[in-house]
Amino acid sequence: MTQKEFLNIVMPFKDKVFRLAKRLLVSTEEAEDATQEVLLKLWNNKKKIAEYRNVEAFSMTMTKNYCFDKLKSKQAQNLKIVHSNYEEKNTPLQKQVELNDSVSWVAKIIEDLPEQQKMIIQLRDIEEYDFDEIAKMLEMNNTAVRVALSRARKTIREKLTNTHNYGIK
């Protein structure tokens, strides 16, 4: 397989891989590294690509596993201090300005969801995969995906309603 053929296969979903990685790892740099890693792994196993029934779903599963490994590893624990554990009491000015932008509320709410729900929201509401594909990617069954999705959506709606009402009153 030549580089061009490989890129033709990979191009359509590389952004999706990146966005899923970013959803899980939060930082853009980390997500870029993860995407690179996943694509390189695919490239190194390019002889087997023909055997995979669905390269895209396979890559998404690979991304998920890779990100989980990253999150579990010590390196990620160090990074966590930067990302979520560390919270300043007085929100800095930049954050305040950001929070005024209601769209970033949604980002913050999703960030607080459990990993699995985060992934499902990402795959369903942003990437628009159907349930069977999501189930395959996440190695779950169909109903579990629906339940988790429903929970995630309800949480987002509740929190958004709260912030919205708070903003008005």
Binding site: V17, E127, D130, L160
Partner: protein, 157 residues
């Protein structure tokens, strides 16, 4: 009517029962300007989902076409070198030094070469005999001790 429909869809949406098409309807509705005030809070959510679809991976992926070195060819080369070595080794290297058939002749040759060795050896040994002269010289140096004795006597006084 439309609003009613949307509300129904939203309920289904929250239960995770909407199809992708119905979700598309919701997304379209909430990105339009005519959102009912009591559903306003859904707006940022759908806006966020749509906005996030745009994010792209821009970093290059260094795809190296690894040329895997084939170790089979090393063994082929080694065998070729060995074969060449054997071939030229047997044709060029003349290991036959020659032998004498007649024992008398062989003895003569042997004694001749031994004689040559002995004369050369003696010549070498004779030049070494000059070393005796050195010994003689050192023995005369013994007189120096006398001088030392006398000087010691002088300095004692």
């Amino acid at each position: 009517m439309v609003l009613n429909n949307i509300e129904k869809l939203l309920e289904k949406y929250e239960n995770g029962e909407t199809s992708l098409k119905e979700e598309q309807v919701l997304k379209n509705y909430f990105t339009s300007d005519t959102v009912a005030p009591h559903l306003e809070m859904y707006k940022p959510m759908f806006a966020y989902f749509l906005g996030n679809q745009q994010e792209q991976f821009t970093k290059d992926v260094p795809l190296k076409t690894k040329t895997i070195f084939n170790y089979k060819w090393i063994s082929v080369a080694a065998v070729a070198v060995l074969m060449l070595g054997f071939y030229f080794g047997t044709s060029f290297g003349n290991t036959d030094l020659g032998t004498y058939e007649d024992p008398q002749l062989a003895f003569n040759e042997f004694s001749k070469s031994m004689e040559m060795i002995s004369t050369k050896f003696n010549k070498g040994a004779s030049t070494v005999s000059y070393l005796n002269e050195v010994n003689k010289g050192t023995s005369t140096l013994g007189y120096l001790n006398e001088i030392e004795n006398t000087t010691s006597i002088i300095f004692k006084n």
